[in-house]
Symmetry: C2
Subunit: 204 residues, 2 copies
C-alpha cells in the first residue's frame, strides 16, 4: 500500500474538492465551513488543513477546477468560437453568482467571485494562485486568437491580450461592478463589438 501513497493522496484531494464545490454552491462563501467539507468528504480535518491552510485556499482551488471545466472550442470560425467561449464563462460566473442563494432575491450580487477576488487581494499567496490559474486558462484563448490572426481571420496587428481583456473584462465588470446580466445575447453583442470595432466602415 505504501507505494500507492501518491495516487491515494490524489483520490482524497478529489473527494475533498468535490465536497467543497457542493458546499460552496449550496451555502455560498459566507456559509462555507471547512469542517463541514471534511465531514462530507470523510477525511480528518488535519488532512484537509495540511493541504489547504484556510477556507480561502480551498475555495480558490475549487474555482480553479471549475475553470478547467470550460472547454475552449477551436472550429476555425473565430466569431462563433469566441461567442461560445464567452457564453461558457458567463454561465460559470452566473453559477457562482447564485451560489448559496435559494430564492435568488438579489440577482445582482456578485457572490462567490467577489469574495475570491477579495481573498486574492488580501493574501499574497492566494493572489498568486488565482493569477496562475487564470494565466494558465487564458493562455488557451490567447492561442485561439493568435491562430485566427495568423490565418488572416483577424487583423495582423491584433493584440491577443487586449482583445481577450475586452471580452473577459466586460463579463467580470458586469458581474462585479454594475450587476448587469450576462447571457448568450450579451455574449453575441460583446463579440460583435470587439471584432467589428466601433469605427465606421473604412474606405479601402
Amino acid at each position: 500500500m505504501a507505494q500507492r501513497g501518491r495516487p491515494r493522496d490524489a483520490e482524497t484531494d478529489e473527494r475533498i474538492l468535490r465536497a467543497a464545490l457542493e458546499q460552496l454552491l449550496a451555502h455560498g462563501y459566507g456559509g462555507f465551513v471547512v469542517d463541514k467539507v471534511a465531514e462530507q468528504a470523510g477525511v480528518a480535518k488535519t488532512t484537509l488543513y495540511r493541504r489547504w491552510p484556510t477556507k480561502d485556499h480551498l475555495a480558490v482551488e475549487v474555482i480553479a477546477r471549475m475553470q478547467d471545466d470550460v472547454a475552449v472550442p477551436d472550429t476555425g470560425d473565430v466569431r462563433a468560437d469566441l461567442t461560445d467561449y464567452v457564453e461558457q464563462i458567463a454561465l460559470g460566473l452566473n453559477r457562482m453568482r447564485r451560489a448559496g442563494r435559494q430564492g435568488a432575491a438579489d440577482d445582482s450580487s456578485a457572490g462567490l467571485v467577489a469574495e475570491l477576488v477579495a481573498a486574492a487581494a488580501r493574501h499574497p499567496d492566494i493572489g498568486g494562485l488565482v493569477r496562475a490559474v487564470f494565466a494558465r486558462r487564458n493562455e488557451l484563448v490567447l492561442g485561439l486568437i493568435d491562430r485566427a490572426r495568423q490565418r488572416g481571420a483577424l487583423r495582423p496587428d491584433t493584440d491577443p491580450g487586449v482583445l481577450f481583456d475586452q471580452l473577459a473584462g466586460a463579463l467580470y465588470y458586469r458581474l462585479l461592478v454594475t450587476g448587469q446580466p450576462i447571457d448568450r445575447s450579451y455574449a453575441e453583442r460583446l463579440v460583435t463589438g470587439a471584432l467589428d470595432g466601433a469605427l465606421p466602415a473604412r474606405e479601402s
Copy 2:
C-alpha cells in the same frame, strides 16, 4: 443657527469624508478604522455611525467621491477623449491598489477595489449604492459615446454600453483578476482595439 442645520451637516460630512479618504489611502482597507476617522474629523462617533452604519458604507461613499473627481472630456475627438478617460480611471484604480501599502512590495494586489467589490456582494444595500454610483458616473461616458455615434464618428449601430464595458471592464479585469499593469500605454492599446476592432479591413 438652527436654519443652517442642513449646510452644517454637509460641512461635517465633508470633513468626515476627507478624513476617511486619508485613512483609507494611508492604511488600506484592513487598517481602516471608523473610530480613527471620527477622531481625525473631530466629530462624535455617534454622528458618524448615524450617517454610515458600517465601515463598508463609509468606504463606498469615499470611493464614490473619488469617481466624481474623474472628468469626462468631450473635445470632439472620440479616440483622444476615450483614451484620456480610460487613463484617468486607471490612475484612480492604481491609487486604490497602492492604498495602505508603503513599499508596494506586491504591486499586483487589487487592494481597496477588491474589498469594495466584496462588500458590495455581501451587503445588498451597499451593492445597491455601488451600482448607483457607477450607473450615474458611467452615464456621462455613455453620453460621450452616443454623441460620437450621432455625429458619425462611430458606427451607427455602436452599442454604447458594450463599448463602455470593453474599456472599463478590461481595466477592472486586469486590476482584480490577472494583476497586470494598467497605464497610459495600455489605455492607448485598449482604445485602439475597441475602436478599430479585430477584423481585417473590410472592402467597401
